[in-house]
């Protein structure tokens, strides 16, 4: 299993080897070209996207001390430090016979790692790890190894299978989606899931731009590029080649394995019963513009799409993602329409449930209704004024501890409830004034100043008399 392979990429960042006459050569991981996938939370190594877009990892080679005689060779494959193995059938020569004086940055391209013995290397489907050997060979007929270090780079260019058994059910303003995976014996193949959805009125994502030629690896367009950084001829460096490689690595359509389309939907996205026209289709590549969830965890098998419009059909599906960030094609499409239903609270109340909800115990009991204007004023005062004051939260909590028995007593004594209502009116009015003052501070200040001016004028008039 790929995840269990050694994370050689990080090992390469700390490689040091003693070298003749006290000299040292170090190979440090410098950077990787930015991937469209956020690399946080994924395995280190090359994935499909990086391979198809020819996005290398760059290493820095540096040395200290005086160099001895020898030339740099970089091989990819097993046991390339042994001379008899260093032929084209067992080791891919990425760099040969480079003078040590030219040492600088060095890029490892994904197809070297994925298919080192290919002619040329490709992005063929597969997963595993490839050894990278940095050798300094003596400049003699024996080409003896005077320095060596080795790193291992993982790769996974095999997309996961899309989720299966995708089901959806409607609710009020929501659709609940469930799914399963095809081979639960290998759960590591599914590290994340994305729920896709689309309905009329939702934005349609822009089509992905064609991959641009990778100018950074072309010395002709990058005068700063190091000679060692020049990819060999068999590395595709224009868009057409990239597309050809991508096409070559894509599996041929297999009707038996293509995701099925559920009843009531259409694989080409055209309108079918219960499905909106447009959107995406089963078997399409992942498009983040249609993603209606964040990246969901490995154990996720359901997701609720919320905030949808009632009586409007939506298409939904699920995409799987492996530990390297490879995404499956879009799974089977199911269509569902959110519509009005009675939730538990409505069922409870319709069947005679007595609880009116809320926490405003005394006022609710006194006015008999949680949404009474006076109760709303007191509630707003609690949330917007009292809670914002130092110690206000403590007062609120103390009230909640003490008030339920009083509220219960009020409910059982109608006369007392009338008295409480009368007593609470001034409090509710003051609460409303305080809330409005907090909501409109400038208007309150102006009003206060106007009242103060009137008061001052009245006082002066009284003094003159």
């Amino acid at each position: 299993m790929t995840r269990a392979l050694p994370a050689g990429l990080l090992l390469a960042a700390a490689l040091f080897a003693a070298w003749p006459a006290g000299a040292q050569l170090s190979v440090t991981f410098l950077e990787r070209e930015e991937s469209a996938s956020d690399r946080d939370g994924y395995e280190d190594g090359f994935n499909i996207e990086e391979c198809e877009n020819d996005m290398p990892m760059t290493f820095r080679l540096s040395y200290t001390g005086s160099l001895g005689a020898g030339d740099l060779y970089v091989y990819l494959g097993s046991s390339c430090n042994e001379k008899e193995n260093r032929d084209e059938d067992r080791c891919y020569a990425a760099v040969e016979n480079r003078p040590l004086e030219t040492l600088s940055n060095f890029s490892i391209y994904p197809n070297w790692v994925v298919d080192p013995m290919g002619d040329p290397p490709t992005c063929a489907e597969g997963e595993g790890a490839t050894d990278v050997w940095f050798l300094v060979l003596a400049d003699d007929s024996d080409q003896s190894v005077v320095y060596q270090s080795q790193a291992t780079i993982n790769y996974d260019t095999m997309p996961p299978q899309p989720p299966v058994d995708i089901e959806a059910g409607y609710g009020e303003g929501m659709i609940s989606v469930r799914w399963d995976v095809a081979e639960p014996d290998f759960p590591d193949e599914w590290e994340h899931f994305w729920v896709m959805c689309w309905g009329e009125g939702m934005s349609v994502p822009e089509p992905s731009p064609e991959p641009a030629p990778d100018a950074s690896t072309d010395p002709a367009t990058d005068p700063a590029a190091d000679p060692v950084d020049d990819p060999p001829d068999d590395v595709p460096d224009d868009a057409d080649d990239v597309d050809d490689d991508a096409a070559a690595s894509d599996p041929a359509p297999d009707p038996a394995s293509d995701p099925p389309v559920s009843d009531g939907s259409a694989s080409d996205g055209s309108s079918a019963e219960g499905c909106p026209a447009g959107g995406f289709s089963a078997g399409d590549a992942f498009d983040e513009g249609y993603a209606c969830s964040d990246r969901l965890g490995q154990s996720s098998r359901s997701f609720d799409l919320r905030g949808l419009t009632n009586n409007q059909p939506y298409m939904v599906s699920v995409v799987a993602e492996d530990a390297f960030g490879n995404k499956s094609v879009i799974g089977a499409i199911v269509c569902e329409t959110p519509m009005e239903v009675d939730d538990f609270w409505e069922v409870y109340k319709k069947q005679g449930g007595g609880d009116d909800g809320g926490f405003c115990f005394v006022a609710t009991a006194a006015y008999g209704h949680y949404d009474h204007p006076a109760v709303r004023s007191l509630r707003a005062f609690r949330d917007e004024v009292l809670e914002a004051m130092p110690g206000g939260g403590l007062a609120v909590r103390a009230y909640y501890r003490a008030s339920p028995p009083a509220a219960r007593w009020l409910r059982e004594h109608p006369t007392a409830r009338t008295g409480a209502r009368a007593a609470l009116w001034p409090a509710a009015g003051a609460a409303r004034a305080a809330v409005e003052a907090v909501r409109h501070p400038l208007a309150t200040l102006a009003l206060f100043m106007a009242l103060a001016a009137c008061a001052l004028a009245l006082v002066r008039r009284g003094a003159r008399r």
């Binding site: 609940s176 069922v347 449930g353 009116d356």
Partner: protein, 219 residues
């Protein structure tokens, strides 16, 4: 999908047998318990006339879901063989179900969705359950009422704790010397929660009689 969730807060009074202290053991004052058990609130015993409605079963079905609880106790009095304490219990419970068609009342078409190794104890306390009901648009509402609130009640539990120190005494001593944990237990209890605002029929009844199992440490 519709859901009901509840946060549980309770103060408990603990009376329990205690493991005998060993010589050289560090002082013991507190206990922490993490536990879980099935839960099915007695909402359907509360609305209207008894037997008229079963809103909880209608929406959430008959399945029990698990309630997770954490408890912190202060053992203020420890006598040979028995201890007394007070504590705080907090928990969380959530259930999901299917909404009903407002016209037909049918469910929406959602998918299928030798020391003493055994230590007895009893606890009793006051509880306050904060609950809320959600639908696809947020908190449920109906004719001016809002689907959240709180219900007071009381709880009682009794059970047995299996003293794990019994199986690895040396490891237990090391744990005590290095971390200060005196005893650790696996335990199970009978848990009775009467959460109906002390008999108020106009409050959501979240009562249940169930069991919990969990892990407890004393320190």
């Amino acid at each position: 999908m519709r859901s009901l969730a509840a946060c549980i807060a309770a103060a408990v009074l603990l009376v329990g047998a205690t493991a005998l202290a060993q010589e050289g053991e560090s002082p013991q004052r507190f206990a922490v318990e993490l536990k879980f058990g099935p839960y099915y609130p007695d909402v359907d015993t509360e609305p209207g006339e008894p037997g008229v409605g079963t809103p909880y079963e209608d929406v959430f079905g008959e399945k029990q879901t698990f309630m997770f609880l954490a408890e912190f106790d202060w053992q203020f009095l420890r006598l040979p063989g028995i201890s007394f304490g007070i504590g705080l219990l907090a928990g969380y419970f959530q259930d999901s179900g299917k909404g009903l068609d407002p016209d037909t009342g049918e469910r929406a078409a959602l998918p299928r969705f030798t020391k003493v190794p055994l230590v007895p104890f009893v606890k009793a306390g006051v509880s306050y359950y904060i609950w809320w009901v959600e639908n696809g648009r947020g908190i449920g509402r109906y004719e001016g009422t809002t689907g959240y609130g709180g219900t007071w009640g009381w709880n009682f539990s009794a059970g047995l704790m299996l003293l794990l120190d019994f199986f690895e005494p040396s490891a237990s001593r090391t744990f005590d010397q290095e971390v200060g944990v005196n005893n650790s237990y696996l335990y199970a209890d009978f848990f009775l929660a009467r959460i109906d605002n002390f008999g108020d029929r106009n409050k959501l009844n979240l009562s249940d009689m169930t069991w919990t199992v969990g892990l407890a440490i004393e320190f």
